[in-house]
Amino acid sequence: MIKIENLSVAFDGTEVVKNVNLEITDGEILGIVGESGSGKSVTALTLMGLVSETAEVTSGRIVVDDCVLREAGKPVDKKLYRTMQGDNMSMIFQEPMTSLNPTQKVGKQVGEMLKLHTVLTKEEIKAKVLETFEAVGLRNPELVYNCYPHQLSGGMRQRVMIAMAVILHPDLVVADEPTTALDVSIQNQIVALLKDINTKENNSMIFITHDLNLARRICDRVAVMKDGRIVELGATEDIFLRPQESYTKNLMEAVPSRLKRRVSAMKNADNKEPIVQVKDLSVFYEDRGSNPFAKKVRKCIVKNATFDIYKGESLGLVGESGCGKTTLSKAILGMNMITTGEVIQTTVRPQMIFQDPYSSLNPSKTIGWLLQEPLRARGILDPSQKMTKADMEAAAYEMLKRVGLEEKYFTRKPSQLSGGQRQRISIGQALITRPGLIVADEPVSALDVTVQAQIMELMQNLQQEMELSYLFISHDINVVYKMCDRIMVMKEGQILEIGETEEIFAHPQNEYTQTLFRDSL
């Protein structure tokens, strides 16, 4: 029985967690959902005693089994915490790669739990670790035991983390975004494992996630956090189906879901005019490894892709990481690739929008400069399209308005903007020369749900206004569903299936497509 009573946590005098009350009972999975900066992680870390030393508990207390673990105004009892950490409560982190010590064998890292909290012999420790590895679904535990983290796949690493967390059968497991860094299919396995463990061990679990669909699937109760406060707390289905607070309502509204009706942005679905024709395109990658004298090895990344992109449509491209989505898109844009086959473009200089809003804008320039740069570049390439300074400036201001930002941002630098704002600028920069085609590579994946919805809306609006075509790449099936007119499924470099959105969702032909869609439900 864990109680968080009226907890407030502050960094440098700024409260990031405000008067949070939570109670977790045995056997339940409590979800904490919220957008980035909502204080969900800090709450969990404070509970675990892992929050950094600069953080200060300004009010409230944390009680575990009637033992006061932490109380405002009192120094942290580190010793007490150390006996609890791992033994009574443990944590699973988001990034299994960085959360494991890269230079220690994973067996040893898991075994350290036992070394710290039990008096088992070396052999006993090893046996217990192997047993737990087996239990979390690691095949060939003996081999895994002697591996370093980098030798394991992402899913295996997360299983090792889970093994570490549950090896001492703690009363509470805190899982902080445990599946966010993983591929969809692996995500499902891990979620299933966690749920399974919860059932078997009958312990309590706090599941922190930004993914509302996921929370809905796994949690018994859900707490919605915003700006450090709990906005709403209740049984999962209540929250999702009957949200009380307006924030929760908005949040639920923003969640892309196949259960909601799709709105196509395409103006005239009948008049199909191809803007890009891809014929039998194969893309290769040459590598000679670390040996400069070795012969180059040619790897085929994309195999014989043939498809068209029509004017005004959004073509979705889905597939797991490493399937060749990005390579294909780059080949279409003509970015330094070894290709065979043909790409026929009818539009000049198609542009691209990237996933990470932080790296897609040059940090040393102002927004105004960035918006004008495509115009300048065009003017240099083609003197007939040269624009005056004033014209370029005017165009930049206009674009700023179009992507929904105020004029004051013109002189700011990207670092002064939020992620969503940056993505707006990226879109504006891509569109200012009015290309016909935009390749959007996971453009909303790094954004919070509400921002995600706004950006998608913006993209759809602009598509209508400017008759744009999108090649929309995403791993998130729900996002693709919402955005795209047609969907193309890729696996291991090959296009498995292509079809109208509704059609393909209703009747997926390929087996892989079927699992992919099922997993993302």
């Binding site: 970015m335 542009q351 040393s364 495509p374 920069q429 020369t433």
Partner: protein, 270 residues
């Protein structure tokens, strides 16, 4: 918010103060010194520090403070010229090799690797043997010697940035290669680059003083702090203030730049 953080950055402040004082004295030394720095006086040999002669006088009865001021400006000129030369070359080579890679990169990197491993003072020694003594040659030799360190930094930054999303996008916009190199990428490496420039300045000063000690540094009538210090060590026991005043001025200047670079680093990290 930004301003207050600068005031909180003690390294930056102390560094600015120390280097600023040196720069001030150095620049002032170009136009005015309390005494004629070359004026010899038989009556005032080895006079200890006093209000009249702040740092005392040397073996020729010359005012050491005036000479330190002159030496400071020479040292600053040497440090700055070396840094300017090697940093410019470093940027050019680093940018080209880092961005384009390929066989040129391979060759340049082999050379810089070999040079980097080679003790810099030794290389300077060989170069000075070829070029001959004198201030310009010291600058040239040290400038050449320090190029590889900048190539390395610039190159790795360019490699890091050449695949950044914003550069990919610039390429898609049709921005020319030269413009990508120098307008899009270059401004982004300055924060890292400034730190290495300041460290390079210090290395140049220290290397120059080492060279002076080996007899291959600046030669009269030019004077640098390193040369003064190496001259003064013969009088360490007879007139300790002679060595200490030039030695401590070097320490002060180098320390100032070290603190400054640390301050800049901290500012970058925030």
């Amino acid at each position: 918010m930004k301003k207050s953080s600068i005031w909180k950055n003690k390294y930056l402040l102390i560094g600015l103060f120390m280097t600023g004082l040196c720069l001030l004295l150095g620049i002032l030394g170009l136009f005015w010194t309390p005494y004629e720095p070359t004026k010899i006086s038989a009556a005032e040999r080895f006079v200890g520090p006093s209000l009249k002669h702040l740092f005392g006088t040397d073996n020729f009865g010359r005012d050491i403070f005036s000479r330190v001021m002159k030496g400071l400006s020479a040292t600053i000129v040497i440090g700055t010229s070396v840094v300017l030369f090697s940093a410019t070359m470093g940027i050019l080579l680093g940018a080209l090799t880092g961005y384009f890679g390929g066989i040129v990169d391979e060759i340049v990197m082999r050379i810089t690797d070999a040079l980097n491993g080679f003790p810099s003072i030794l290389l300077a020694l060989v170069l000075i043997s070829i070029f001959g003594n004198g201030k310009q040659n010291v600058i040239l030799a040290l400038g050449l010697v320090f190029i590889p360190s900048y190539v390395r930094i610039v190159r790795s930054e360019f490699i890091r940035l050449r695949d950044a999303d914003f550069i990919k996008r610039a390429r898609l916009m049709g921005v020319s290669k030269v413009r990508i190199l120098f307008v899009h990428i270059l401004p982004n490496i300055f924060s890292v680059f400034w730190v290495s420039v300041m460290i390079g300045f210090n290395n140049a000063i220290l290397a120059e003083s080492g060279m002076s000690y080996l007899g291959i540094g600046v030669q009269p009538p030019d004077a640098s702090l390193g040369k003064m210090l190496s001259d003064a060590q013969g009088y360490l026991q007879r007139a300790p203030w002679f060595a200490l005043s030039s030695g401590l001025t070097i320490v002060w200047l180098v320390l100032g730049f070290a603190l400054l670079s640390e301050g800049v680093q901290r500012m970058n990290n925030n």
